[in-house]
Amino acid sequence: MNAPSLSARLLAADDRRLWLGMAGCAIAFLVVVPMLNLAMPPDSALHMPNYMVTLLGKYLCYATLALAMDLVWGYCGVLSLGHGAFFALGGYAMGMFMMRSIGARGVYGNADLPDFMVFLNWKELPWYWMGFDHFWFAALMALAVPGALAFVFGWLAFRSRITGVYLSIITQAMTYALMLAFFRNEMGFGGNNGLTDFKDILGFPLAEPSTKLGLYMLSALVLGLAFLVARFVVTSKLGRIMMAVRDAESRVRFLGYSPTWVKLFGFTLSAMLAGLAGALYVPQVGIINPSEFSPANSIEIAIWVAVGGRGTLVGAVLGAFAVNGAKTWLTGAAPELWLFLLGALFIAVTLGLPKGLLGLWGQIRRKEKAHA
């Protein structure tokens, strides 16, 4: 791409405040948090304990996932109820790499096979595990596999003009089928337990707080990067076509654009972002298993976006943080009641803030203007 156009476009992008805000967040996440974590003495009130860092790292991955979701749902108008699948696939790719790098340190001390295979009497590594000894390959797969699946699935679906809820439901069928498939121990992905017992990644022991901090900062960078990419796409002419497709698909056809390819681009890109998020997520939570494919998870992703405000990118990130933050807090603070509160939140948002939390922010700003 021609650099001037890129920078020009990004800066030209409607309001500066957004970019300043990003800078603020970047500083907050990449400078302030590490400082609070490392520099502050553990007993000080300002100290950011390690578990908070891992927690934030997890949220950042969710935020990236939400961003990916917003790209297809908020801009292409494709409500995918199967995005958890892409996330999980990316996670599995990274998990397989870390599985391989365990080597002979597994409980059965078998250098050639992961424990669960030893345990199921597998004699040799199945072909689809080949290559996952190399990080670059795993990283590539974390993008390529979700991308490819999205491309094929999307091509089939969009080409035959499956839209709206029909599309949502078959994406749900996709992730559901994948979940059942990965549950099967014969698949060679560890069945219900999935992949776990990871020791280290690229030689950095996962147990080390420093590794966790590193992963956290990486997640922050990736989120920022993903945001720039998404931003670049939606501010491009393609982005405007996406919105056009979202609002009046048939009309776009008469302008000579093919919605199939527009949506396919968005869907595939989004799937790859989701895969990336998954790949970063797994080393931080230390396990990946089929439950990540469960339809409920995918629905939740849509909910983060809706809560934050769809079609805004920022809203998606906001929503992911808000909902997951609430979940973390409530499951600890009100273990018996948190489902009531979370459920109420969803209802309140849909009834009160059709534009999500970001919409609320917008309303307040407008009020301020009115008073001023």
Binding site: Y166, I170, Q172, L342, I347
Partner: protein
């Protein structure tokens, strides 16, 4: 011949003579031993007396209906009433505790009952006796069955006895008898028999007999193939009917109203819990024999309960979201979370027991060991009834007319003075109510827990979409075909792979028909 029967009668009379009385009652009391070995000995001793009354007692013991009172008297429970096992005099069950049995003792008892019952004056008992002889054959029973056959008059019992005899004769020393037995058994379709014949193939020495057995096995096998096909179809229909039940309500709230109703599953769950509550009320207030009636009562109650809840939801939440289907998904998801937690905090997280009423338990044993279970047959019938009722309501009632009007052209309907708001509420309530009734039915085959709904929600959406949103018949066809496909695949692919394949089928099918099985055509749909 006649003389022999006379003899039997005499025997029966003698059995009542006091001389035997204490011997008999001692044997009966001995049943209340403290370890199973002694109980088994006692049971064998009792049956050895050849006393007609023993059969009833042993049977009661096998069913755990035989109690021992504190003072050592043995009491027998029959349909809620307690009688002294020996004197047959009415007795109280005050301090009586049931005499425990284990599987081995049950086996012994069954055999004993069989041998004794063969000569009981009560034909019903004779029939059951014949069955139990087949179920648990013992070397000595062959001779007795032969004796019984000579005296037996009822053709039905005769048939069963000769079958039983043939079963036993397979193990007979005389090859001729074995061959005769095989001939007698070759027309049966009982896998049990096939099992024994196959077992024979391994052990049999006489080549002739072996050949005969081989032919018989072949004949039975070819019959069993058809049985399994039939069984497969029934299972498919049954699964289909379950899917259909789960989906009908959604076909209304989602199919007709366009609400992506994630709380649908919870409506089913609430229905199931209503069934539980009704059952508990019945248990608390009515004598046991009437408790079974809770089910027919629970159905309308569940409908009303979930209908009201549905209307409530529609008025407070859903109605603000028309035209924003995706938002309805979000809100109803929240609702479903809350409902689950609500039920959890009221009824507790663990499963609740909803029993099959007696008239819904068990099934008819068709040929080839294939059982047509009552609860599934009834559920198939029930779900078709619900579907037809709904179809009729939409088709002919003025409510149905208004409903279609509102869903097709809201402003026009409003302009014509149709109370759209009330119609919406009623429609959503209807969908929820149907889900509630489905919950009552599903409580009969599955578990009743706060997660009940989650198990059905995905499948329900699959069915509705596969069938074609907004088309009842599509839903019907979708559910049944999915059920059948699933069950046809299961034996080959296994339960898990079968389900996966079904999902793939759905995905590919939607490629061909983007609007499901029963798509609405025409320009109106396009934009």
């Amino acid at each position: 011949m006649k003389a022999f029967r006379l003899l039997l009668v005499l025997l029966a009379l003698l059995a009542w003579a006091p001389a035997h009385a204490d011997e008999f009652s001692d044997a009966v009391r001995a049943l209340n031993a403290d370890n199973f070995a002694d109980k088994i000995a006692a049971a064998e001793a009792l049956s050895a007396l050849g006393d007609g009354r023993a059969a009833v007692i042993l049977e009661a013991l096998a069913d755990g209906r035989l109690h021992a009172a504190g003072d050592g008297t043995i009491v027998m429970e029959q349909g809620g009433a307690y009688r002294d096992a020996i004197t047959q005099a009415a007795a109280s069950s005050a301090d009586a505790s049931p005499i425990t049995v284990n599987n081995r003792l049950r086996g012994v008892l069954r055999g004993a009952v069989g041998r004794l019952g063969l000569f009981s004056p009560d034909p019903e008992l004779r029939k059951r006796a014949a069955e139990s002889v087949i179920a648990s054959p013992t070397p000595e029973s062959a001779a007795m069955v032969r004796r019984a056959l000579e005296t037996e008059t009822l053709p039905e019992v005769k048939r069963m006895l000769s079958l039983a005899l043939a079963n036993l004769d397979l193990a007979d020393a005389d090859p001729e008898r074995r061959k005769a037995a095989i001939q007698a058994l070759r027309d049966s379709s009982d896998p049990m028999v096939r099992g024994q014949l196959q077992h024979m193939l391994e052990t049999e020495s006489d080549p002739e007999v072996k050949a005969a057995a081989d032919k018989a096995v072949g004949a039975i096998n070819s019959r069993l193939v058809w049985v399994s096909v039939g069984a497969n179809i029934f299972q498919g229909l049954s699964l289909g009917s379950v899917l259909l039940l789960a989906a009908i309500g959604l076909a209304v709230t989602f199919g007709v109203m366009g609400v992506i109703n994630m709380a649908h599953g919870e409506m089913i769950m609430l229905g199931a819990y209503t069934a539980f509550v009704v059952q508990e009320v019945f248990r608390a207030t009515l004598p046991p024999e009437y408790v079974g009636l809770y089910l027919p009562v629970a159905v309308p109650v569940a409908f009303v309960v979930t209908f009201v809840i549905g209307v409530g939801l529609e008025r407070t939440v859903i109605r603000f979201l028309y035209g924003r289907p995706l938002e309805t998904m979000l809100a109803t998801w929240g609702i479903s979370l809350m409902l689950q937690q609500l039920v959890r905090s009221i009824f507790g997280a663990s499963n609740r027991e909803v029993a099959n009423p007696a008239w819904m338990t068990g099934g008819i044993d068709l040929i080839g060991g294939f059982t047509l279970t009552y609860n599934r047959v009834i559920i198939i019938g029930f779900c078709l009834a619900v579907l037809l009722a709904l179809a009729a309501l939409l088709r002919w009632s003025s409510f149905g007319l208004h409903m279609r009007a509102v869903t097709q052209n809201r402003p026009m309907a409003a302009a014509m003075g149709i109370p759209t708001g009330r119609i919406d509420a009623a429609t959503f309530g209807l969908g929820s109510g149907i889900a509630g009734m489905a919950g009552v039915a599903l409580s009969q085959i599955g578990n009743v827990s706060p997660n009940l709904g989650q198990g059905y929600i995905v499948d329900s959406f699959m069915v509705v979409v596969f069938g074609g949103v907004g088309s009842l018949w599509g839903t019907l066809l979708g559910a049944l075909s999915l059920g059948l496909v699933n069950k046809v695949l299961e034996p080959y692919a296994g339960a898990m792979l079968g389900k996966i394949l079904v999902l793939v089928v759905i995905i590919l099918f939607i490629q061909k028909r983007p609007r499901g099985l029963f798509a609405l055509k025409g320009r109106s749909v396009e934009s």
